[in-house]
Structure formats: structure tokens, C-alpha cells
Amino acid sequence: MPRRGAFGRRLLVVLFLGGLVASVLPWWRDTPTGSLTGATAMTTAAGQITGLVAGYLLLVQVLMMSRLPVLERWAGGERIARWHRDVAATLLVAVLAHVALILVGYAGLEGRSPFGQAGVMLREYQDMVSAFVAAGLLVLVGLVSVRAVRRVLPYELWHAIHLAAYAVLLLGYAHQFSNGSQLFRPGPVRTGWIALYVLVVAAWLWGRVVVPLWFNLRHRLRVSDVVVEGPDVVSLYLTGERLDRLDLLGGQFFRWRFLTRGCWWQSHPFSVSAAANDRWLRLTVKVVGRHTQDLRNLDPGVRVWAIGPSGTCTAAHRTRERALLIAAGSGITPLRAMLEELPPGAALIYRARTPADVLLQEELDWLSRNRGLRVWYVFGSRDDPGPRQVTTPDGLRQLVPDVARRDVYLCGPPGLVEQYRQVLRQAGVRRRQIHLATFAL
């Protein structure tokens, strides 16, 4: 299997930084050195810079949500989600700074109070009402995404509010060109900025409409079987056409839409839980809420709409010959799918509350007999002695003495994954040897 390295990811980072520089460059060129004298001019200039940065970051945010295959392939869905969150915080700060600095700066130029200036801009400047609305929406989207707030909101409500980000893109568009000092004049800068918008929208349509249409018309997935794996766990078997042509790696996930009453309007990510084969796909789902509850009762024959595959937690992304996999709870599903693609000699630490919670045990046993997989089951909650011991660097080294020379794949609840990441770093595992899948986007 060809390796997929970090090259694409680094290229994306370089492109991103290049774009950032390019977006501030027009300001740099238009502003002669020494021309910023006095607090007012400086404030206005800072407002322009933060405005350009914010405009750029907003486009990057939308691009990252475009599901563009090249992004999914080079960076992976989970990493993109992390980037998206980090950029979001920066974008929010940039927008707030832009609004505040421009208001204060213009107020200084025109001899008003900043609030008076806000009134004047709303009344007299072109496109500023929609721009202010856009800023307000962005703040709202930011607020509901603060972790503490997001946790108490139902996912669907959070998601619906989050869609307002597209309105931000729309409403914030015009004011850049009617009032932006670098953009209102026709010329290459303005044209380039518009081209960026066109590109991002095109990428979005490509990743969200064209590619999924192509994929789903080609493979025509349907539910063929729902198998109970345990008290709260079911496996869904899907069949379709041309599954041998699926470009799928073990450990990757799709975003699934089950086209049946009550389910079709929601799209949920689930990993594929068995190695790719030309007859079926399998997902293994733990019931945690409304949607997963509904999946339990799916009828065979239901059509499925999928977007993917996505994710870089795969055997192709490894940097070493041997691997250690650490799974907690239903986190076993993507790791199970990649086991056959790893070279022999892999080790698996599987944490579960009780022996009854272990999923796919027969398959794991089979793999340990036939492919030299070593498996440790660790039972109990995180404060019991067993789990405590395997979350220390020494405890890990006792089980897997060469842990520092392995790739480590982590999959489980975000808190646990983060805890393990730190322990692994202490045990001497390099950052690029650690592969995360958190089940949270």
C-alpha cells in the first residue's frame, strides 16, 4: 500500500500562510512608509489589516468545510476540523478588532465618538447594515461554539445556528468592495479578491455537490443488514455497486445520510469498521442518542447517501514499521478496520468498562491468532487500578517496551485521547508518530 506522507499537509500550511501574506500585501503596498503619523491613522491602518485578515480567514474557513477531496486526502477530516476550530477563534478576534479599530479610527478622522460613527456608517456608508449584521452573526456562531455552550446545546440546534456562517459570507461580501480601502478601486487586487470568492464557492460546490453526486450515483449504497453486536451496539452492513473500486482505507470514515423518514435530514460521521472488500461495507454504531437509536431500527433496503472517505488515521499514514493501537469503547471500530492493513506485529490496548462492552471480539481473536496481533483488554473506569496503570508512561512501556519506536493510533472519547497523547509524548513518542481519531468534529 502506498504511503501517504505529510507532504500534502505541509503544502496546505504553506499555501495558507502564503495566502495570508498575499491578502495583507495590498495594504503594505498602498501605505508609504512613514505615512502613519498619529494614533488615528495607526488605528485605521490596524483596522484595515485586521479586516483583510478576517476576510481571508473567513474564506479559508468555508474552504475547509468544502469537503474538497484533495483537502480530505492531504489533511484529513479530523485535522481539518481542528484547524477549523483554531482558525475560528482567530477569525472572531480579527473581526471584532476590525470593527472596533475602524470605528475608532474613522471616528477620529471625522471628529465623532465611535458610537456616533457607528450610526453614521450604518446610515450613510454603503452596505454597512449587512456588514454589521454579518459581524453580529459571526459573534453568535462563535459564542455557541465555545465548548461549554456547545456541550449543552443539542447537536442539531448548534449545527443550525452554525449554518449562519454562510450568511456571514454573503452579508459581509459587499462592504469590502464598497468601503475597503484596498478593494474599492477596480484593479488586480479587487479582481483577485473576487476571484478568491469564486474559487471558494466553486470548491464548495465541487466538494459538497459534484463529488458526492458522482460517488453516490456510482456506488448506490443501501442497507442490507442490521446486526446486533451488544446491548447498545449494532453493525450496519451496506451493499452497493462497484465496491471494488472504492478508494477506501481502513480507519477512514464517511458522513452518512440514511434516506428514510426521520433520518434523511441529518448527516452523521461513522467509521467503516471492516477492511475494504468488494461485497459490503460495515459500520458499527454505539447507541448514544436519538439518531443512533433510529439506526438500530433501519430496514434493509434503505438507501444511503455518503460523503467521503475521509480521515488520515490509516495504515498508509504510518511512519514506522510497527504500530500500537489504543482504543476506548466504540473507538475500536476504525482501528479494527485498519488492522489487516498494518504489517504483522501490531499491538492493541482496548479499554472497555466491562468484558460485556467489548465489541467485535471474535474478529479480534481471529486477528490475534492469524496475524500476530497482541491484544490487551483493560477493564474498568478511568480510576480503577488497571486503566490507571496503562495511562502512565511506565505502564505503557511495560506492556510495549518499544512504544517510542512505533506509530500510535488513538481512538476514543476526546478527553481520553488527549490524556493519552500527553502520556505518549512523555514516553518518548514523537508527535508525528501519534495519530488521533476523536469521534468529535
Partner: protein, 187 residues
């Protein structure tokens, strides 16, 4: 989250650094407030004499909005252009170019140049207009396109008695003052 923290710090530091770099007293001091040159006249105008009309001066340090419209005109002092730059002797009528004074208001500087053939104004151009923000730039464009040029309102009316461009009262006003001073000088 740690990365986000760095990114935000980077944004603040980067913005500050850019602003500070551009604020450093440096060389590229001139030319910035005069983006439009309106080179309609074939002969270049007489040397402008106002020495204080450099852009660094253009910033009004404390923009006040006094009732008078706050126009501190550089008046006569700025306008002692050695009136006429004559073109070829073939021209039967004397041609002259006159610079109006720099009139400063709270948005920036306005300076008007007119070309005359005999007593008749044949062209008007704004050498300076407020361009500090996109909004004032737009207003300046409106004023310029209404007043200036060989077929603008100045040439049409042959006087500084011009209609105010709505939404750009201050700039219209400053334009008229500079123009009036130039006309006074010509006659």
C-alpha cells in the same frame, strides 16, 4: 486551543508590527496625498509654491468639527503661483494655468488647478482631494467628476458658483474655495 492562542497572539503582534513599520519615519514621504494628477493640460503647471502642502502636513492633528466647516485655507500664501506658463507663440490668446490654494478640511486637503485661455476657464482639475478612507475617496470622486474636466460644471459656469454635491458638502465647499481663490487671482 493552544494553537488558537498562538494564532491570536500572532495576529495582534503581526498587525502591530506592520503598523509600526509603516509609521517609522522613513523616506517614501511624499506623493501619497496626491494620487490624482489630472494631466489634462498639455503644458505642465507652474511650480506650486506652497511649501507646507506636503502630505505630512495634510493630517489634521486634531480634527475638529467647527461650525464654519473648519476650513483652514492656506489662502493666498499658498497660491502665489507665477501665474502664466505660456505655450507656443502660435497661440493667439494667452494661455495660463493657475493653482488654487490648498484648502484643508476635516477629511483632508483640496487643491484646484484651472487652465485659462484668455479669460475663459477651459479646464479644471483637482490636484488633491481627501482619499484617506474609501468613503471619502468615493465622495471625492463624485465631486471631481461633477466639477472638473473640460466639460465639468466649472467650465460650464465659468465661476465658483457650483451646486453642492449631495453627501459631499465639505469637499464641495473646499473645492469652491480653492477655485474661487484661483479665479480671483486670474482676474
Amino acid at each position: 486551543m493552544r494553537r488558537a492562542f498562538f494564532a491570536i497572539t500572532g495576529l495582534a503582534a503581526g498587525t502591530t508590527a506592520l503598523v509600526v513599520l509603516k509609521a517609522a519615519p522613513g523616506t517614501g514621504h511624499l506623493d501619497q496625498a496626491v494620487p490624482i494628477a489630472a494631466p489634462s493640460a498639455a503644458d505642465e503647471p507652474a511650480p506650486t509654491t506652497s511649501p507646507e502642502a506636503t502630505p505630512s502636513k495634510a493630517r489634521s492633528p486634531k480634527p475638529t468639527r467647527s461650525a464654519t466647516g473648519a476650513s483652514r485655507s492656506g489662502a493666498g500664501a499658498a497660491s502665489k503661483s507665477p501665474a502664466a506658463a505660456r505655450s507656443g507663440a502660435a497661440d493667439p490668446q494667452p494661455t495660463s494655468t493657475i493653482l488654487g490654494p490648498v484648502v484643508t478640511n476635516e477629511f483632508g486637503d483640496v487643491q484646484v488647478r484651472i487652465n485659462l485661455v484668455g479669460d475663459r476657464i477651459v479646464n479644471a482639475a483637482a490636484l488633491r482631494l481627501p482619499r484617506r478612507t474609501a468613503q471619502s475617496d468615493q465622495r471625492s470622486d463624485q465631486v471631481d467628476s461633477r466639477y472638473s474636466g473640460t466639460v465639468g460644471m466649472v467650465v460650464e459656469r465659468q465661476s465658483a458658483d457650483l451646486d453642492t454635491v449631495s453627501g459631499a458638502t465639505a469637499t464641495s465647499d473646499a473645492y469652491r474655495r480653492s477655485l474661487q481663490a484661483a479665479i480671483d487671482q486670474a482676474r
